[in-house]
């Protein structure tokens, strides 16, 4: 459902939304929108679409870096803990083994590394994606529920300097969108 709006009766809007049937169309639309100079936009798909993010100008993905840091911290924590426990906190003669039996500490060190890294992966991914975020303007579009099922959307946001409702809507229609609508904020 789309409605014709005149600038006068325009409420605060989040952006202009175009709906496509296939990932390929969406990908093209995204590319042309970027080519047309739009920068503040987002594309929505029920499954990962290769190259889509890059198409709309997404550059650097920092998840990997965070995970690396997490892993290093984990390993250091694990080994440090064991060393401290057995050498400093309460040194015991255990079966005649040296206080610092470092080979025996490797398994736990490794596990700690994995644990920290994995948790960092989850947290950093969600954090950077700004999730959890149950409310989002795009959900105002009635057909957007198909975005998680079988339809593909491109949304050029009002915050984009080149954003002009009519032009943008028109531009989106020209990209061959099946349906185009304004996203109320």
């Amino acid at each position: 459902m789309s409605q014709e709006l005149t600038l006068s009766e325009l409420p605060a809007i989040h952006g202009a939304m175009a709906e496509f049937d296939t990932p390929e169309e969406l990908l093209q639309a995204g590319e042309s929108a970027f080519a047309a100079g739009y920068r503040r936009m987002d594309a929505y798909a029920p499954m990962p679409v290769a190259g889509l993010a890059e198409a709309i100008g997404y550059k650097r993905n920092k998840v990997a870096f965070c995970v690396l840091i997490g892993g290093i911290c984990g390993a250091m924590f694990g080994f440090g803990l064991l060393e401290w426990m057995t050498v400093i906190a309460y040194p015991h003669n255990v079966g005649g083994r040296p206080l610092n039996s470092w080979p025996a500490y490797i398994p736990i060190t490794f596990e700690c590394m994995i644990l920290f890294a994995s948790l960092t992966a989850l947290v950093s991914m969600l954090a950077m994606n700004g999730l959890p975020r149950p409310y989002h303007p795009v959900f105002n579009i009635a057909r957007f529920d198909r975005a998680s099922i079988d339809k593909f959307f491109l949304c050029i946001e009002s915050s984009d300097p080149k954003f002009r409702v009519e032009d943008t809507l028109q531009f989106l229609r020209d990209t061959g969108a099946k349906e185009v609508s304004v996203v109320p904020a």
Binding site: A45, P48, V63, M85, A121, L126, R133, A147, I149, D150
Partner: protein, 473 residues
Amino acid sequence: MATQENLKISELPEIPDPGPDEIIGPGHNYATVTERIGGIVYTPWKRWPGKWWIGAAIAFGFVNLLMLAMYVLFFRGIGTWGVNIPIGWGFAIINFVWWIGIGHAGTLISAILFLLRQDWRTSINRFSEAMTLFAVACAGMFPILHLGRPWLAYWLFPYPNSMWLWPQPRSPLEWDVFAVSTYGTVSLVFWYIGLIPDLASIRDSAPHLWQQRIYGILCLGWRGSAIHWHRYQKAYLLLAGLSTPLVLSVHTIVSFDFAISIIPGWHTTIFPPYFVAGAIYSGFAMVLTLIIPLRSWYNMRDLITLRHIDAAAKFMLGTGLIVAYGYAMEAFFAWYSGDKYESFMYWNRITGPYAVTWWLLILCNIALPQSLWSRRVRHNIGLVWVLSLVVNIGMWLERFEIVVTSLHRDFVPSSWGIYIPTKWDWATYTGTLGFFMFLIFLFVRMLPSISIFEVREVVHHLRHPREAYQEKQ
């Protein structure tokens, strides 16, 4: 709503299996897969099949048995079990190793097959991950239950305490604490991340507002943004990368529980690889045991196809052969090492009081599974199912062999003994089986048991084979 028109699809009577070459049946589109898989989740309980109710009820019965067994254990003591001196470990550790082994298929399928780009994993990874979690939950119980003073189990964690005492990290049991808890956590994370987009799909296709709300919360407001997908895939890839060494390390460490000790039959270097192989072996067996009934109950023959079963069966065969190699090596060491204790141990396994279990295990784990070489066998669903059960039993017997026969006759003849499990041992074991099944039953009802968005990708790839390749780059 968009979903209404598709409801019919889930009611199609019989869906044929597309055969050993297809990983998905014909005529599927993005919507239909959503509908087929999601449909199960939000079908009103009135329409749940009777089979489910009966199965769940039986499983729940065993959960109660488990509760009773625990009550007896805590208030009367570990003496209610069959353990003694010299056999200080019995069912508890056998079951622990068995469950943790089963728990290995999930992460393996999700992570390793993912890295290996095996597209057939898609329809079974979600399910086997769930299976992993539940198996680990069962496994995790035993190390605590088997303590003489379970209420002090927290002493195994390093926390600042008024005794200024700390765990003793040279002990493989301490390694277990970290390995198992890490494995549990990471599997959960991996599983949950995989679920997020599908939960969103459920949110958007569920008929009732309360369902939409619940899944809306669970999916954290996922909206399928391209950039989110990008980070999402990166995170998932990294997790897969991390889980792969993890899954190998966990059973390696479990095998250290034995390999680190000096008991003949335990103290051996072959254990880590052969435990890991055994774990995967039993894991795939359990996957098959579960998905074969599942696909027919829920009309998913076109999503879990002969292709999957065939591949899993091959995996079983392969890992089974590694395990066989392990056995062979044990025998070889026993002879080649020239160690009198080692050779006696092996001889005692074959001919001693527990010889029956040993021969049964050879039958279950090595002899029978060889039939999987034959394509006809692999494609006979019923037969594969039976074989998967056989392997499950065989792997349990293997753990029994390792734990009991090694301990009951070790070094000093005067202290040799015999182990006879009591009714409470059995109650605890079957109890966890019930607990496991009960969780599975809940899972298939409450959550999408197949990764919907990955199946969408499959649908997409089938349409555009060329891109399918590029996309993986």
